[in-house]
């Protein structure tokens, strides 16, 4: 269970190479024909053909791949059958990598963990990473090469490229255009540079629906040269986040939230806690966690930033217009917190803010002396020069100057801003090709569609923001036909035969040999440490094996903690006057579960309750309850949103249901991206596409008109009541309450009485403590639990009927009054009560207590009376009302391929059976087997539950109560430790640390 296992990370499977002029396998028919017949029905001849085919199928399925494979007769070194292996790999989101360890059971990846040696992971993961394995097996993935919608082959595609290449060579790439997403892959960057050399007139454009453009422009405005912002919250002593969801989803969620929470983790006697102050338009996980939160319109942030700058005396700052009383109070408090933290202060601004606000933030940080300490300005990536934006490319396409367009990995037809007529321009390009994981909106409009391989199937590489490179290793040979963007780019450059493996290997071999493997600096210069080959053993094979095993390539990162000098003056942010309260301001946000829509076919993520609203399978618009009441509607009512003042011209209205969320600024309507997809076996038709409202000049906010349609839909929610009704469910306390000493558990006498005798204590008494101060509601634990424990997906209809299957849920309660609302989030797994109310209820003894204090459920014995859940005060048990996992799966999740995602150590539950959190009993068993082999006992830290392992902020601790020195024992002595519904006498093993807040404003006023 440790990263050490990754040392066996030699690739055992390599992706199949496509060879021109040779069919991919001994299939008697083309794939296309099979599906076409399946669609159009069978005649007698095809029935006979299929009879023959089905006889030949087993043989075909058993054929060996082209490359060398090693049979299990000669087992790979270090492999124990039944024991999982871990391989280091990486996952790239918007060009920033997170190092991961993929768990593989006999060559079948089933689970993703963080790579402890990787700075963007530190052993943890986010929800996207956890859900990766489901996408790998997704039967809805693209698996066919298509030409004009008809089935074709990759060979035919390559031949078409070869034919076109002759022309490009002559015209030096005139008319050739590439459109890519943000990628951190050094090899890809190199291939693109090669192409730019070969075809100097080639257009290279980059497009991301969720970009960092404002941030980049902000750096340029403040420092006069390009650069990238790199936040280092782990160094900070106070956080002020202006419209920045620093703890929210994103490529660096794990690193940033770990940094913030580490500065806010408090224990007995703690007197310091970095305050977190957030001003934001829509209640996000960050705002809910904050000590001080201001709900304010996105357009007011600039004024707020100016006010803070003025209060801090930032040179050149000028007091902007009038602030409301709340805004004044917030900026006072923020300025005070920042001033106190001084050089360790961190003021951050979200991407949605205009460049001037970003620039002002840099000035504030510089003034405080924290620029370079808590925030670095990194040099731009080599690739960032010579890039076109989507609008420029689209203009070129529209005027006919683009003849060949290759779209790699992005889906601009769906996600391009509404004013960029990409779809129309696409029709003017004679040769278009789209490489993507799914057949999507863009695939439909392109001449060629080529399926892309999943990151767990292909070789690649990736980089963190600081340039630390990792190799992306395949865990399994491709499950469906697919191709790597690397080999496609190589083919464009004339190398049609190269596999991604060869390309990546060759790139790193070259860099190793020339000593240029480093290099996150400006173009041309060598790496800061001279590359990975220098100083180490000169053998590339050793270097390569080390790199694969460790998951990072040392010497590739650039130094942080630097920032260039500010320019003398930059434009001060202008903030519009208080917008008229009659119209709404729509703000656009990435979706915490599907991001920009790229994860929308992942059923785990679709069914992941959104951090605040607990909505699943949809993207309702978040509106303040008072606004909802003013509109005279209720949750689920469909509203029609149009661009203000558009007078019904081109922009079509967006129909979207609303959900009342306290803490949304009045007059703000929060819209998340990524929904309303027209493609995807799971994603199709779910939610509303807010794209029509989003234009280049209003990427993140715009004034809109909202009209009530009168229709309504039933939202799919997993939590309906967010009020605690005055009960102490999530305890909250100020930092000052921790001043006291740790409790002595031995002298505590408030243990509730019981009639039942205590179970005898054994050498292992498992317990979990969850720190609610550290919980940021990111829900990585929920998906981790789902992946680890084979928790089925039930679909939106079942969710609407209240049949959520997650073993671990995060309850979110609103606290505080409406404007200054905060959230208290409480992860609720099974409490494993010592006096479990479920156990005496079960008539057949399926719910029983084991010798290590676990409350276990014996699936074979369970007859499904549900009495246990009826009597569970925490309602943590989950019932298989249908055969969600075997026979009645949602959508295409019953496909045999998807069963491969199951963890072989965990039973797949049948219909009619109750299930629940087991404290990952299979991991405890694994640790016990390991301990017996060592002839020892299970030590602290040898059992890590799936939720604990995933948690980016390490809010979950798990361990043995019988071990005096265990972390859970220590945490149980904390003054802010408590058990949920303690008064019922259930004596839970899962307990909590109260949510501690550091409300500096109030404390000062009070004092």
């Amino acid at each position: 269970m440790s990263a050490g296992d990754a040392s066996h990370a030699a690739p055992r499977y390599r992706p199949r190479e496509a060879v021109i002029g040779e069919t991919a396998g001994p299939m008697p028919m083309e794939d296309g024909e099979l599906l076409q017949v399946a669609r159009e029905g069978f005649d007698r001849r095809s029935v006979l053909k299929f009879l023959g085919l089905s006889a030949a199928m087993p043989l075909a399925a058993c054929s060996a791949p082209h490359e060398e494979i090693v049979p299990y007769v000669e087992m790979p070194e270090g492999l124990v059958a039944g024991e999982p292996q871990y391989f280091a790999t990486a996952f790239d989101l918007n060009g920033i990598a997170t190092g991961l360890l993929a768990e593989s059971h006999e060559g079948r990846p089933t689970k993703i963990e963080g790579n402890p040696d990787h700075p963007n992971s530190l052993g943890s993961t986010d929800a996207f990473h956890q859900a990766m394995v489901l996408s790998l097996y997704d039967p809805g993935r693209a698996s066919l090469v298509r030409r004009a919608g008809e089935f074709s082959t990759y060979d035919a595609f390559l031949q078409a490229i070869v034919a076109r290449r002759a022309e490009w060579s002559q015209t030096s790439g005139e008319g050739l255009a590439l459109l890519v997403g943000e990628s951190g892959s050094p090899t890809m960057e190199r291939l693109l540079q090669g192409l730019q050399r070969d075809y100097p007139k080639m257009r290279l454009a980059v497009f991301e629906p969720i970009s960092r453009e404002n941030q980049r422009q902000g750096v340029k405005a403040a420092f006069g040269k390009p650069g990238r912002v790199h936040l280092m919250p782990a160094e900070a002593g106070a956080f002020v986040c202006l419209d920045h969801d620093i703890l929210g989803p994103g490529p660096e969620q794990v690193r940033l939230s770990r940094g913030v929470v580490d500065r806010r983790r408090v224990r007995a006697g703690s007197t310091t806690m970095a305050p977190l102050l957030v001003a934001e338009p829509v209640l996000t996980a960050t705002g809910g966690t904050a000590d001080e939160r201001l709900a304010c319109r996105r357009s007011r942030i600039a004024a707020l930033a100016s006010a803070i700058a003025t209060r801090l005396g930032v040179p050149g700052s000028e007091s902007s217009g009038d602030l409301t009383a709340r805004e004044t109070r917030f900026s006072d408090t923020a300025a005070m917190a920042l001033r106190e933290a001084g050089g360790r202060a961190l003021l951050t601004v979200g991407e949605a803010q205009p460049p001037e606000v970003h620039a002002l933030a840099h000035r504030i940080n510089a003034h405080l002396g924290s620029l370079g300490r808590t925030v670095s300005i990194l040099p731009p990536r080599r690739s960032e020069s010579k890039l076109e934006a989507l609008d420029e490319l689209t203009a070129a396409m529209a005027d006919g100057s683009v003849t060949d367009l290759f779209v790699l990995g992005v889906n601009p037809v769906y996600s391009a801003p509404a004013d960029i007529a990409f779809e129309d321009a696409l029709q003017k390009v004679p040769f278009t090709a789209h490489l993507s994981l799914y057949e999507d909106e863009t695939s439909e409009k392109c001449l060629w569609h080529v399926p892309q391989l999943h990151p767990l199937e292909e070789w690649s590489d990736a980089r963190t923001a600081t340039g630390l490179a990792s190799i992306v290793q395949p865990l399994v040979s491709p499950l469906y036909e697919g191709h790597s963007p690397l080999s496609l780019l190589a083919a464009l450059g004339g190398q049609v035969n190269r596999s991604a493996h060869d390309i990546v290997l060759a790139n790193w071999r070259e860099r190793f040999e020339t000593g240029g493997a480093g290099g996150e600096t400006a173009a041309g210069t060598g790496g800061p440490t001279g590359g990975p080959g220098r100083g180490g053993a000169g053998d590339f094979e050793t270097f390569w094996r080390t790199v694969l095993a460790r998951g990072t390539i040392e010497g590739t990162g650039t130094e942080t903690g630097r920032a260039p000098a500010l320019t003398a003056r930059s434009a001060a942010p202008t903030s519009p006057d208080e917008p008229d309260t009659g119209s709404f301001e729509a703000v656009f946000l990435p979706d915490p579960a599907v991001w920009d829509g790229r994860f929308s076919n992942n059923a785990w993520l679709q069914e992941l309750p959104r951090p605040i609203t607990k909505e699943v399978w949809g993207n309702a618009a978040a509106i303040n309850p008072a606004d909802v009441a003013a509109l005279g509607i209720a949750d689920g009512a469909l509203v029609s949103i149009t661009v203000a003042g558009s007078n019904g011209d081109a922009s079509r209205p967006v129909l979207i249901p609303v959900i009342a969320v306290p803490g949304v600024a009045r007059g703000t309507i929060g819209l998340t991206l990524g929904y309303g997809r027209r493609f995807g076996s799971v994603a199709r038709g779910i939610g509303a596409d807010v794209g029509p409202l989003r234009t280049t000049d209003a990427l993140w906010m715009r004034a809109v008109e909202v009209s009530v349609t009168g229709a309504s839909v039933e939202l799919a929610l997993t939590q309906h009541t967010h009020q605690m009704h005055g009960r102490e469910i999530v305890k909250e306390m100020p930092l000052s309450a921790l001043a006291g000493q740790a409790r002595d558990l031995a002298t505590e006498t408030d243990v509730p009485p019981t009639l039942f005798p205590d179970f005898p204590r054994g050498p292992y008494e498992w317990a979990m403590v969850i720190d609610q101060t550290a919980c940021i509601n990111c829900s990585a634990c929920v998906v981790a639990c789902q992946a680890e424990n084979n928790v089925p997906v039930v679909g939106p209809a079942e969710i609407r009927r209240g049949r959520d299957m997650h073993w671990l849920r995060i309850d979110t309660y609103y606290t505080g009054e409406d404007e200054a609302v905060s959230t208290a989030s409480q992860p609720v797994p099974c409490m494993h009560c010592e006096k479990a109310p479920c156990e005496p209820m079960c008539p057949v003894g399926a719910a029983i207590h084991d010798s290590e204090g676990l409350n276990v459920q014996v699936y074979n014995r369970c007859i499904g009376t549900r009495d246990c859940q009826a009597n569970c005060p925490y309602k943590v048990r989950r019932f298989n009302f249908f055969a969600y996992a075997n026979g009645q799966e949602f959508a295409d999740l019953g496909d045999p391929m998807v069963h491969a995602v199951h963890n072989p150590d965990v039973t797949v539950r049948a219909r009619g059976v109750m299930e629940k959190c087991t404290y990952c009993v299979q991991r405890i068993s694994g640790a016990r087997r390991e301990a017996i082999r060592k002839d020892g006992t299970i030590a602290e830290g040898e059992v890590v539950t799936a939720c604990q392992q995933a948690c980016p902020t390490q809010a979950i601790s798990f361990g043995n109560l019988s071990e005096a020195g265990s972390s859970v024992n220590a945490l149980r002595r904390e003054p802010h430790h408590y058990a949920l519904l303690e008064e019922l006498g259930t004596r839970p093993r899962t307990t909590y640390l109260a949510k501690v807040t550091n409300r500096i404003g109030e404390d000062r006023e009070g004092g």
Partner: protein, 462 residues
């Protein structure tokens, strides 16, 4: 015996009634037999055929519902992760409650020498038997894997596994099993002399043999009557604790938990009285059509209904008391969750069902303070139906209110029944009616021998 040819109605017209009004003043043994057995041997009427047909449709609906349930899973119902108990449990409790009245009438009234029970005990017992059997069906269907319910029984197995004896469900299973067995035996025992009468009156060989087999060679000798009486009274004495235990145990299913609204010591007696209440309401609801349909007005008189109405009034008062005790307790204990539960009952999403239930169970029985209402067939009938509705609402609300509003507000949820929830309930009602109509045609609906005994004691028969 000169009046042998006259019907009960004619006899009343001629001779008036006995002093307590329970039967005609002059009614020979033969008239009684004619009156009751006649209904069995008469040709089936069109109405009867139609009723059997309609109720058979209900039986079909029941079996279709069960088929769909077994094929798809309990997910076809409206239950969810929080409200895990739905109509199946509520219907079970309701049917068991109905099944209580027959035994109460038979045994408790027998032991307390309430002579008016004689003419209604037979079909009340039949009602008990059918209702209890249907009730027994629901727990089987309620569980997720009905094919494994034998796990609940203590049978020898290689794993040495026994039921989990602390579970109220195990107690419940034994209670229902005992009760159904007892009801069957008690009912059958009381039937034996009447089966012999039917055997003796049968006109065809087949019918004679069929009744004869079940009559167990009853000849009506003094020896037999002595043994019969001793056995029957002993059974009745057994029945009283059983009828108390069965519904007490059902109450314990709830009371043994820690959930707000369930964990109340009042539950066992409250459930017993509730059962008696709904049982009597059902007897009344059945009596009025039966005495009309089978022409038994002479034997089942308004005095019977009057007596039953008084019991319903008593039941209604106890129920009202129990409800108010619940409210008082929630207030008195100061427990915020219990208090929130009571508030949710009155104002939560099921508020109108709760108010309707209070009206049916608390207000409607108050009519029976008035003699006029106790003797008005229409009022009694409507009141009986309303009380049954109220008691059924009480059963579903016990499940829904507690499970929809638990300890953690995050788990609040709403139960919305589906078509298959309703179809199973209606189907069970169809089965009940179907069995009852068959019973009315095959077996004497009133106890011939006991009415004869009554006639003897009343001095009506000489």
């Amino acid at each position: 015996m000169s009046d042998a040819s006259l019907s009960g109605r004619e006899l009343i017209a001629e001779h008036g009634r006995t002093r307590d009004g329970l039967m005609p003043a002059e009614m020979g043994y033969r008239s009684i037999t004619d009156e009751v057995a006649g209904a069995v041997f008469a040709r089936p009427t069109r109405l009867w055929m139609a009723l059997v047909g309609v109720s058979f449709l209900g039986v079909v609906l029941l079996f279709v519902s069960i088929w769909v349930l077994l094929a798809e899973g309990v997910g076809v119902w409206g239950i969810n992760s929080d409200v895990v108990w739905g109509y199946a449990v509520a219907n079970y409790v309701w049917w068991i409650g109905i099944g209580n009245a027959g035994t109460l009438i038979s045994s408790m009234l027998l032991l307390t020498r309430q002579k008016w029970r004689a003419s209604i005990n037979r079909y009340a017992e039949a009602m008990t038997l059918f209702a209890a059997s249907i009730a027994g069906l629901f727990p089987l269907l309620h569980v997720g894997r009905p094919w494994l319910v034998h796990f609940m029984t203590p049978y020898p197995n290689t794993m040495d596994l026994w039921p989990q004896w602390r579970s109220p469900l195990v107690w419940d299973m034994f209670a229902i099993a005992c009760y159904i067995l007892f009801s069957l035996l008690f009912w059958y025992t009381g039937l034996i002399p009447d089966l012999a009468t039917l055997r003796d009156r049968a006109k065809t060989r087949f019918v004679k043999v069929a009744y004869g087999l079940f009559a167990l060679g009853w000849t009506g000798s003094s020896r037999q009557w002595r043994a019969f009486d001793a056995y029957y009274y002993a059974m009745a004495a057994l029945g009283v604790p059983l009828v108390i235990s069965i519904h007490s145990v059902v109450g314990l299913d709830y009371a043994a938990t820690l959930m707000p609204g369930w964990q109340e010591t009042i539950f066992p007696p409250y459930f017993v009285v509730g059962a008696m209440f709904s049982g009597f309401a059902m007897v009344v609801t059945l009596t009025i059509p039966i005495r009309w349909g089978l022409g038994l007005e002479a034997i089942i008189t308004r005095n019977h209904l009057d007596a039953m109405a008084k019991i319903m009034l008593f039941g209604g008062l106890v129920m009202t008391f129990s409800y108010s005790f619940e409210w008082f307790n929630a207030w008195y204990t100061g427990n915020e969750v219990d208090r929130a539960h009571v508030v949710a009952q009155f104002t939560g999403q099921y508020w109108w069902l709760y108010w309707l239930m209070l009206a049916c169970n608390g207000a409607v029985p108050q009519l029976f303070w008035f003699r006029l209402c106790r003797r008005n067939l229409v009022i009694i009938f409507i009141a009986g139906v309303l009380i049954n509705l109220g008691m059924w609402l009480e059963r579903i609300l016990i499940n829904m209110n507690t499970l929809s509003h638990g300890f953690l507000p995050s788990t609040d949820s709403t139960y919305v029944p589906t078509f298959w929830d309703w179809s199973l309930f209606l189907g069970s009602f169809g089965l009940f009616c179907f069995l009852f109509f068959l019973f009315a045609k095959v077996i004497p609906t009133a106890s011939i021998h006991e009415i004869r005994e009554l006639a003897h004691k009343e001095g009506a028969a000489r």
